[in-house]
Symmetry: D2
């Protein structure tokens, strides 16, 4: 798909703040940024980081007082394929080296505590793809999408108890259960076409059959319309804003639209 994405964020920063901002569409194998524009007002000192191994691009800037960040891009996100039930799990020896870090527990995804549950509930399923699809079904059946239940400290363990949360919590629980099944899983922040109300979205991806497959455990947005932004172990790594000091959100709007007449360069 060709998608026009746009984020406009206004924050009120403490004096002398520095921030790491993650709103730019990633440069990845399955996604091409055809054009983009980043506007900071007032103008400020900034550093654009290079895409890292995962394709993630972030910038750093100095902010003070009220500041507005606008990002616009036209992105070709290719043809995202829905996860196939037969997709095979790799054993550890055949995984690519950089997938290994997504096997182990992280702050919001304490997969080591879910070994018994995950194996009892999903262990008998033969193929990796079918296992992940069962995890997604389980989450859909057992967890309510309810804003206000969780907060910035909510872990997958807590969501498993609460049985309610938002996209970030759904993804943390999905990642946790997949890692407990020895499937590398990582958090992805995204622009999401047809997400209603429009906002940044949190989804996740699993490594199966030699590649990463995007899934949305909330079922709120089609995988075909996702544009990756950040990629990491969990919410800590994909926060769209990380700052040295306190800051207040003043307003935030995110838009994603199909670029009807767009053609790839």
């Amino acid at each position: 798909m060709h998608l026009n994405v746009r984020a406009e964020l206004v924050f009120d920063f403490a004096a002398g703040s520095e921030a790491i901002v993650s709103v730019q569409a990633a440069h990845s194998r399955d996604q091409t940024v055809l054009s983009e524009r980043l506007l900071l007002s007032p103008a400020t000192e900034m550093v654009q980081d290079e895409p890292d191994a995962r394709g993630e691009r972030r910038f750093r800037a100095r902010f003070e007082g009220e500041a507005c960040i606008v990002y616009e891009a036209l992105v070709d996100n290719g043809q995202r394929i829905t996860l196939a039930p037969l997709a095979r799990k790799s054993n550890w020896l055949s995984l690519p080296q950089d997938a290994l870090q997504y096997l182990t527990p992280s702050r919001y995804c304490p997969s080591d505590r879910f070994l018994l549950f995950a194996n009892r509930e999903f262990g008998a399923i033969a193929d990796g793809g079918a296992q992940v699809l069962s995890v997604l079904d389980w989450i859909h059946d057992h967890v309510d999408y309810t804003p206000g239940v969780s907060n910035i400290e909510t872990t997958a363990e807590r969501t498993f108890v609460d049985r309610a949360g938002v996209c970030r919590d759904f993804s943390h629980l999905g990642i946790t259960l997949c890692r407990a099944l020895n499937i590398p899983a990582r958090a992805v922040s995204a622009y999401a076409w047809q997400l209603d109300p429009p906002d940044f979205h949190a989804v996740f991806e699993v490594f199966l059959d030699g590649g990463w497959w995007l899934v949305d455990p909330t079922r709120l947005a089609p995988v075909e319309g996702l544009v990756r932004i950040g990629i990491g172990r969990d919410a800590t790594d994909i926060a769209f804003l990380t700052t040295t000091g306190p800051c207040m959100s003043v307003s935030q709007s995110v838009n994603v639209a199909e670029a009807a007449g767009a053609v790839a360069a």
Copy 2:
């Protein structure tokens, strides 16, 4: 049943320790202590507390170095009735005042976090007795009895994730789910006939149909052979030993046997 119970505990206490000891059979409506003997060696200063409203009896003593506590009793624990499915839940207004404290969360039983799960899983069941029996079935089906997984800090929330634990953990989870269903539930430490290997046991009881019903979520010992010791909100309240300072367990043996020829005084 008439039961002979005996505990012999040896600890090594730090100098100047004081301890609260809870090993004596309770004096309760459904249980009569026919004879008993408490022996502390070396002899030491002690205070015997009166049975409180719940019938629990504890003593306090000063200990230093290696000390041995022996308690023996002949107890008539009456005819314990197995929880009936039709036992009715009381609404809050009709509960006795002293049952109210067993409705709310406590350290090891954070029932406030389980409202959604408990109501979704058990909420459609009409009667209180049947609800509790379903909770016991659920625990039996989903939690493994496995020593070594849990420790003194393990809460019901953690056991719900771990899906494994020992009698104390099973009881905490059962209490938590019952409270989440608005059924007063409290922890009980007990001498347990036929428990193998013999040890102190942790069970719980629920308030239904105007009375307290003992249940054993581990299914390791028959309810008919339980002799209550301590009663409280959770493990904190029913610990058999609470001390001012560090102490080491040297040895511990617990025995419970049917008093074949015993006759009530």
Copy 3:
């Protein structure tokens, strides 16, 4: 002091709710309720609980939709004495039996984790009163009174790390440190003269020299002007409202004024 206290609480209750309400001035040795009035509108079925051993009085009622609770009382809270540095700590054997439960950890007050810190920081102080006063000084020096940092789940452990909280958090931390020093400590909810802005207040009390001494770790209200409401192990026990189902606060006002010309009946 003679004090006029008044609370007016409006909640919106889910259909079929029952609630335990703790807003009535306690009947305790050091406090006399000269006159009082409780008004529920709309009128509803209620049960007035008897003062328990601690003097606490609560009522239970059935609520549905928007409901208003008004409580007014004229209270003589006697002559509260400020904690004396020389007040002596009791050893466990000489404590009254019902003080024992305030020695052990509870959900919000995990005193077992603070043994090392408390003993290192305050252990060298000879007298119990001086120890408690040092705990209060330490809290005053190290913890900021900052609304919004903590929430209903915040424990003393977390406040010790955060170094910020509100009256409830200050009290939990104070209680925790006192219990870690083997001093019985319990939570008290109160009407507080001169508290600004007026609200329910959370303070705590310690058992020294044979009696309970009220202290306010926030230093926001004078001890002389405190009127006890609830008494318990921690916030769970002294909540002014506990309900079977969700409810929303619509408005809340609390007033405490010196009853200038009042005379005891």
Copy 4:
């Protein structure tokens, strides 16, 4: 220094286990592996990972039943310089991109919760080096090195409360406080000369003045004698063994000795 390091680890693995093993001396700017030998018995299928950006080298292997891993190396760890008080902190815009991930909280190092404490305790200190040295002094003065208090789940938050732990806990607390001061900090596993008893050691390093500085918050081993193995956000990343299934440690020995007559190749 030139150091001979040797680890011999025997585990009993469940059938069909795979493991990631991190015992090899890193290839880093400040450390050269002059010779080395890795021996697995029984022989098994393995994959040697390339040194990653941080120089860390791990291997993956299939294990079953009792298996022995022996690693020996002669390493020149250069001339490690003790952290200078005047070493300057970088602002975020001037940090190298790959240091950014060591600014944010991780599972065992929840630095976001320590902002107030860290800034109040160390915020007034001008230079980064002096700040870190003060953090190390604070840990030394307030935390006891005590085996048995902590376990594999202990976070820096808990160690801050417990005031006791082992090398891993000391490092987690040091990392946490440094990140809370906006200083990148990361966990390092190491062979440590003169550590008594000999074992793997956990230390950490901070990014100041354009480079990483190793520090040992336990003060149990001199920085000059440290040989880096793994490097990561916290203990999860630097575990010497991560497995797909349960395994039992049978024996473990670690040796580090100065290679008196050694000369670089």
